[in-house]
């Protein structure tokens, strides 16, 4: 596993992160949409607005939120396609961005410490986010999300400063 990962080749993050991104995006959009929408039928029931107004509102709502839901469905796929990481003995390189692309190289000798974090949904899917901290300013903490949990820990161990590794 180690040999296959620390090979200086570009890797994509786990494809399950696409599903997770879609669930999160579509879910939160629907939740917001329904919350915003709920007062309308209640007002209609109470006789505040006419049936026609309600129909127009529903159509508008469906169109707007349909668009957002579609976006939330396709965006994680695009995001995943353009997120790549490359690990070698000298450090790690993360390439991301769909229109504006940024490739950031983090030499292992500059890694101050690393975190692996998992949210509740990430845990459900066995995913994790690796955060690398450097002494820099803009690149003080660089995250790589959507990694398989085991790979995240493997990368963390690889990026641990030498003296800490010896201590462990």
């Amino acid at each position: 596993m180690t040999a296959s990962l620390i090979d200086g080749q570009e890797h994509a993050v786990d494809p399950r992160s696409v599903t997770l991104g879609q669930i999160l995006g579509v879910g939160s959009t629907l939740a917001t949409g329904i919350t915003v929408f709920t007062p309308l039928p209640i007002t209609w029931l109470l006789g505040g607005i006419s049936g026609r107004t309600l129909a127009i509102a529903i159509a508008g709502w469906a169109l707007a939120f349909g668009g957002v839901v579609l976006f939330c469905y396709f965006w994680p796929k695009l995001h995943h396609r353009h997120l790549r990481y490359r690990v070698d003995q000298a450090g790690v390189r993360i390439r991301r961005g769909i229109l504006w692309r940024n490739t950031i190289s983090i030499p292992a000798s500059r890694v101050q410490h690393t975190d692996v974090s998992q949210g509740p949904l990430q845990r459900r899917y066995g995913l994790a986010t690796l955060t690398v901290h450097t002494a820099g300013t803009e690149g003080a903490s660089i995250s790589l999300e959507g990694l398989d949990r085991d790979i995240a820990f493997l990368l963390r161990d690889h990026l641990l400063p030498d003296d800490e590794r010896e201590a462990v």
């Binding site: 229109l99 190289s105 030499p107 292992a108 000798s109 500059r110 002494a135 820099g136």
Partner: protein
């Protein structure tokens, strides 16, 4: 280590609250004056507002701070206790204390007190500021620190020799060498070059403007002036023609700029009075100030980034400014580091030299970066297509501007033909072409065995130097426009980078060149170990 017992806690001088209040009120002085002046009619109310909302809480805070703040001398460290709601106890090992610097302004001198700054190798920000101590207390602080540090050092050397730790010093030594001393003439030049004081003079002019009675009988003023000036110049003062107001307008503008520069000169002469840069055992030290004397240590190994800056005016005088970015921190991961980071000390840019002759710049840079020789750098140009990219952007902007202006002229009742908008591209294109050409010619990057260099700017020219061992991450950026032209930019991140100021951020590179630079930096950084 049992030989030195902790001392009784010491307190601040009895008048500290005055100085604490004064120092926290500093930032309020200008707004307070503005409030008082521009609240005509409700002056009483604004006095009360000012008193109730600013002065009284500050006073109470200062009194509380004086009551709570104390320090004691432990066996190996100076312990400072502070904090009104959140109690803070800071331990500063004597061995870490590099200097106890004093700031004494005239008011301090009247009361025989001083504001003591405890400096460690962190650079940038002092570790602690004791505001204020009596002179006797300062003497005790210095003596105790020096003595106990020596005891600690002796004990230390038995256990483990640490080359980094030196005993604290309280003044310049005979062996120190002066690298730069700015004569008054040089400070005058610095004042002329810098634009300090714009706000003050602008505000003063604004007030003056308000006090002028525009409905006054100008004719009688003119008559009075005619009596005062020699007869050959009386034609300038003509009550009926437009000549006189124009003349006065021009005179006012000239006066404004003269005042601006005069104020700037005065400010710099006072602030940077006797600016001295000298080399000491463990770094460089700058000292300056006429009323408020400042002394700060620049630990050479903490310098993250060095910039040589020259504005148009600098170049007129054949001078440059050199400044440094420091990362304030002890050993990485220590409490000290986090403390300093929380205090904002990581964002410190400080002078190496506010102004230095061009032919001495290189020598001064070599004092902090011995492996750098600015004179022998082989600058690499940006992409050959860089100018075209800049021009394309400018042309698009000009087209929008021209269309907008001509539409405005056509649609509004301004008695100017819409065709006059054509002057914008006619004049703008040659100017942008010249500017773009000049900018691209002056921009460039270089790599030597130890550092990366980037220069840019047309009117204000900057050269930034970052040593490989101070680099953190390297980023290759591609905007959609970059990708269309197979170009990219390279950006180097360092610790303690300020938000403003020149950085290593090289735009308009050919993509393969950019990739080669990133690859080279990645390899170079791999070979070095980062030390704060």
């Amino acid at each position: 280590m049992m030989n030195a017992k902790p001392s009784e806690p010491r307190r601040l001088h009895g008048l500290s609250w005055v100085f604490i209040t004064a120092s926290s009120m500093k930032g309020f002085v200008v707004p307070a004056i503005v409030v008082l002046i521009f609240s005509a009619g409700g002056t009483m109310a604004s006095y009360q507002l000012l008193g109730g909302m600013v002065i009284i809480p500050t006073l109470i805070g200062a009194l509380l701070k004086q009551a709570i703040y104390n320090y004691r001398f432990d066996a190996e460290e100076l312990v400072i206790r502070d904090g009104i709601l959140t109690k803070k106890e800071r331990h500063i090992p004597y061995a870490r204390i590099h200097n106890i610097a004093l700031v004494r302004n005239p008011v301090h001198r009247i009361f025989a007190v001083a504001s003591a700054r405890i400096e460690t190798a962190a650079g940038g920000k002092p570790e602690a500021v004791m505001r204020v101590l009596s002179i006797a207390a300062v003497e005790e602080l210095r003596a105790e620190t020096m003595q106990r540090s020596r005891v600690a050092a002796t004990v230390d050397s038995d256990a483990e020799a640490d080359a980094d730790e030196t005993e604290p010093r309280t003044g310049a030594r005979a062996g120190d060498s002066v690298l730069l001393q700015m004569a008054p003439g040089e400070l005058v030049r610095l004042g002329l070059i810098s634009n300090r004081g714009f706000i003050v003079v602008a505000a003063a002019s604004g007030l003056l403007w308000q006090t002028i009675d525009w409905d006054a009988d100008w004719g009688s003023y003119y008559a009075g002036i005619i009596d005062l000036i020699p007869s050959w110049a009386t034609w300038l003062i003509d009550p009926v023609s437009l000549r006189t107001p124009v003349l006065f307008g021009v005179a006012a503008v000239v006066l404004f700029f003269v005042l601006l520069r005069l104020f700037s000169v005065a400010w710099h002469v006072i602030r940077y009075h006797n600016f001295t840069l000298r080399r000491e055992d463990d770094g460089l030290r700058t000292e300056y100030g006429l009323f408020t004397q400042v002394s700060s240590l620049i630990p050479a190994e903490r310098i993250q980034l060095t910039t040589v800056r020259a504005t148009l005016l600098h170049r007129l005088f054949a001078r440059s400014s050199l400044d440094l970015e420091m990362a304030g921190a002890g050993e990485a991961g220590s409490d000290l580091e986090q403390h300093l980071a929380a205090g904002g000390a990581r964002k410190a840019r400080q002078w190496l030299a506010p102004l230095v002759e061009d032919d001495r710049t290189n020598a001064l840079i070599r004092e902090v970066l011995p492996e750098v020789d600015l004179d022998s750098i082989q600058w690499n140009p940006l992409s050959t297509r860089a100018r075209r990219r800049i021009m394309k952007r400018s042309v698009i902007a000009l087209v929008f501007l021209t269309v907008g202006v001509s539409a405005t002229l056509a649609l509004t009742p301004v008695p100017v033909s819409a065709l006059h908008a054509i002057w914008l591209p006619l004049l703008g294109l040659p100017v942008t072409l010249l500017a773009a050409t000049g900018w691209v010619q002056n921009a460039g990057y270089a790599l030597n065995a130890h550092a990366i260099f980037f220069r840019s700017g047309l009117l204000t020219r900057n050269i930034t130097i970052v040593r490989f061992d101070k680099m953190q991450t390297v980023a290759l950026g591609e905007s959609p426009f970059d990708r269309r032209r197979q170009m990219a930019s390279v950006k180097v991140d360092t610790a303690g980078a300020a938000t403003a100021g020149h950085r290593i951020d090289i735009p308009y590179l050919d993509r393969d060149v950019a990739e080669a630079i990133v690859e080279r930096l990645y390899v170079e950084v791999r070979g070095t170990e980062y030390r704060w």
